[in-house]
Amino acid sequence: MSWEAFGLSIKLASTTSFILLLIALPLAYWIAYSKWRWKFLVEAVVALPIVLPPTVLGFYLLIAMGTRSFFGRIYQEVFGSNLVFSFEGLVIASVFYSLPFAVQPLSAAFLSVDKRLIQLSAVLGAAPLVTFIKVILPLSTRGILMALILSFAHTIGEFGVVLMVGGNIAGETRTISIDLYDQVQAMNDGAALETALFLLMLSFFFLSLVYFIDRKKGRTIAGPKI
C-alpha cells in the first residue's frame, strides 16, 4: 500500500469537506426554507452526482477546466498553471462530486429544527442570520457532523472523477483508489489486497460512525411536550 497515495487522499478529502461545508451551509439553508416554485430543479441538480456515472461528471469537468474553456483560461492566466491534472483541479471536481453528501444531511437537519423556535427567535427580534447562527446551527450539530463525515468518506472513495480530471500523477493526483487500480493492473495482488482491505475498513468505520451519531438523538430534540 502506498502511504503517499493515502496521504494525498486524506489531504484531498479534508480540503474538500472543509470547502463543501462552506458552500453547503448556505445552499442547504436555501433548500430547506426557500418557497421558490422551481426549487425542485435545484435540488435535482445538487443530487445529480449520486446517480450520474462519475466518468460523465469527470468528462464535463475536464472540458470545463481545460485550457480551451473560459474558466480554464482565466485560471491559467491568474495562477500560471493548468487546472487539469493538478491537485487544485481534483479539489474542485471533488466538491462537485460530493456536494449532495454535504447538502442533504444539512438541509434535513435544518428542516428538523422545530419551526416554532425559528418563529420564536424572530418574534424576539432576531434577524434571519442571527437565528441561523444562534438557533438553527446549534440544533443541527448532528447534521453538520454527518455532512462532514459523509463528504470526507465519499471523497476518499472517489475513482472515476479523479481518473478523468486528475490522471495519475504520483504525489499530485494519485489517490489511494487510483493506486489500488495501478496495483491490480501491475498484477501486484498482495499490495492490492492490502489496499482494498484498508479502504473497506475505513469505509466501514465511517459508516458506523454515521449510524452511531444518528442513533444518539436526545438533547437536540426541541420543545417541551406538555
Binding site: D114, R116, L117, Q119, L120, S121, A122, V123, L124, G125, A126, A127, V135, P138, L139, R219, T220, I221, A222, G223, P224, K225, I226
Partner: protein, 361 residues
C-alpha cells in the same frame, strides 16, 4: 390602554376561514382575553398579529403603527413589530440555559443588567436556582414560566399570550396570574390572552373577546358578556348551563312570557309573539325550595322532580325535570339540608331578570 385595530382574512390550508375584525381603543382596559373552543382560530389570530403567519388580506394597526395592510403592501416582519408572542405549549431553546432563554430578546443590556433581570424574573416566578438549568431539566410548569418571562422581559408594547398558564398547577396558576396582571398594569403594557378557562378569563380580563369558528362573536365588558350573551354560541362558550330553545308567547309591560318545553317562564326583555328564541339561565341563579311554592318577588316557580345529581367538588349540579330539563347549582351542604335525592319533589325559583332571552338567530 388597549389600542388595537384589525380586520383579517386568513384561509386555512385544510379548509375554513378566519375572518376577524375588531377595533378596541380603551383607556380603562389593558388586558383582553380571547375565549373560544379549540379550532376557533384563536392561535392563528395571534400568529397573524405577531407576524409569524401572513393573513391573505386585511390590516393590523396598533399604537399608531400599521404593521400589515394588504392593500398598501405593508407587512412588517415579526422582528420589527413591538409585539411579544408566547406560543402555545411554550417552546424554549433546548440548547440554551434558563437565563439565556429569558434574555434572548434583550439586545442592548450589559452583562450585569442581564444578570439582574434574570434574577428578578426568577424570583418573581419562583425559579430561583434554576437559572443555569437547561429546559429538559425543568418540569412543564417551570418551562412555561421561563417562556412567559422570556416573552415579557423585552417589554413589547403588546403581548400575545397563548394559554400562558395552562401547564401550571392550580396554586401556582393563581399566583402567577396575579403577578402577570400586576406586571402588565405596572409596566403599562397591553395584552391579548387566549384561554379556555372561564375563571381565568374573569380574573384576568378587562375586556372579553368570544371567538368561534374563525369569527369574533361578541366582545366587550366581561360581566356584560357573561350576563348577557348576544347569541346562543356565546352563552355556550361562557358556560351558561341552561340554554334551551323556546318560543315567545306574549309580551306585556316589559315582561316576556316564554314557552320552554312544557313549562312557561317570565323573563325581562323584548321580542315578538310567536318568535322562536333561546333561553339562557345560569345554574347558580336557580334557587331550590322544598315543598309547595311560596309567594315571593320571583316570577318563576317551577315544580319538578330531581332527575340527576352531578357532584362538582363542594358543589352539586341538580338536574330537575320541570317541563324541561333545568340545571341548578347548589352547595353540597344545601343539598343535604334539603334532603335532595333522585325523584324528590322540588320547586325551582328563578327571577325574571335572571333569564336571558336570545332572539333573532
Amino acid at each position: 390602554m388597549l389600542d388595537l385595530r384589525f380586520d383579517l382574512q386568513y384561509r386555512f390550508p385544510k379548509g375554513g376561514m378566519l375572518t376577524a375584525s375588531l377595533s378596541i381603543l380603551s383607556d380603562s382596559s389593558s388586558i383582553a382575553v380571547i375565549l373560544g373552543p379549540s379550532g376557533s382560530g384563536k392561535t392563528t389570530l395571534l400568529h397573524c398579529l405577531a407576524g409569524v403567519q401572513k393573513p391573505d388580506s386585511g390590516y393590523i394597526l396598533t399604537g399608531g403603527t400599521t404593521y400589515f395592510d394588504s392593500e398598501k403592501n405593508i407587512d412588517f416582519p415579526a422582528r420589527d413589530r413591538s409585539i411579544g408572542l408566547l406560543f402555545q405549549d411554550a417552546p424554549l431553546f433546548p440548547h440554551l440555559s434558563v437565563s439565556k432563554n429569558m434574555t434572548y430578546g434583550l439586545k442592548e443590556e450589559s452583562a450585569s443588567d442581564l444578570k439582574s433581570i434574570v434574577g428578578e424574573w426568577c424570583k418573581r416566578f419562583g425559579l430561583s436556582e434554576k437559572a443555569d438549568r437547561h429546559p429538559d431539566e425543568l418540569s412543564g410548569g417551570e418551562r412555561q414560566r421561563v417562556a412567559l418571562a422570556q416573552t415579557l422581559a423585552p417589554k413589547p408594547s403588546l403581548l400575545l399570550l397563548d394559554e400562558p398558564l395552562s401547564a401550571l398547577d392550580p396554586v401556582t396558576r393563581t399566583d402567577i396570574r396575579k403577578k402577570l396582571r400586576d406586571w402588565l398594569i405596572h409596566e403599562k403594557r397591553s395584552a391579548l390572552i387566549v384561554t379556555h378557562d372561564l375563571a381565568e378569563a374573569l380574573a384576568l380580563s378587562d375586556y372579553l373577546i368570544i371567538m368561534s369558528e374563525g369569527c369574533i362573536l361578541q366582545h366587550g365588558d366581561p360581566m356584560e358578556i357573561f350576563s348577557r350573551p348576544a347569541v346562543p354560541q356565546v352563552a355556550k362558550i361562557v358556560g351558561v348551563e341552561n340554554l334551551l330553545p323556546g318560543i315567545i308567547l306574549e309580551v306585556t309591560e316589559g315582561i316576556v312570557h316564554l314557552g320552554v318545553g312544557k313549562a312557561e317562564l317570565a323573563a325581562i326583555g323584548s321580542g315578538l309573539p310567536n318568535e322562536s328564541c333561546f333561553v339562557a339561565i345560569r345554574a347558580e341563579e336557580v334557587i331550590l325550595e322544598r315543598g309547595q311554592a311560596r309567594t315571593s318577588s320571583a316570577r318563576n316557580h317551577l315544580q319538578g322532580r330531581v332527575q340527576e345529581i352531578i357532584p362538582y367538588g363542594f358543589q352539586v349540579g341538580v338536574v330537575i325535570d320541570c317541563g324541561f330539563l333545568l340545571t341548578a347549582r347548589i352547595t353540597e351542604q344545601s343539598r343535604q339540608d334539603l334532603g335532595l335525592c333522585l325523584g324528590a319533589e322540588i320547586t325551582a325559583v328563578i327571577k325574571a331578570s335572571a333569564i336571558q332571552v336570545l332572539t333573532g338567530h
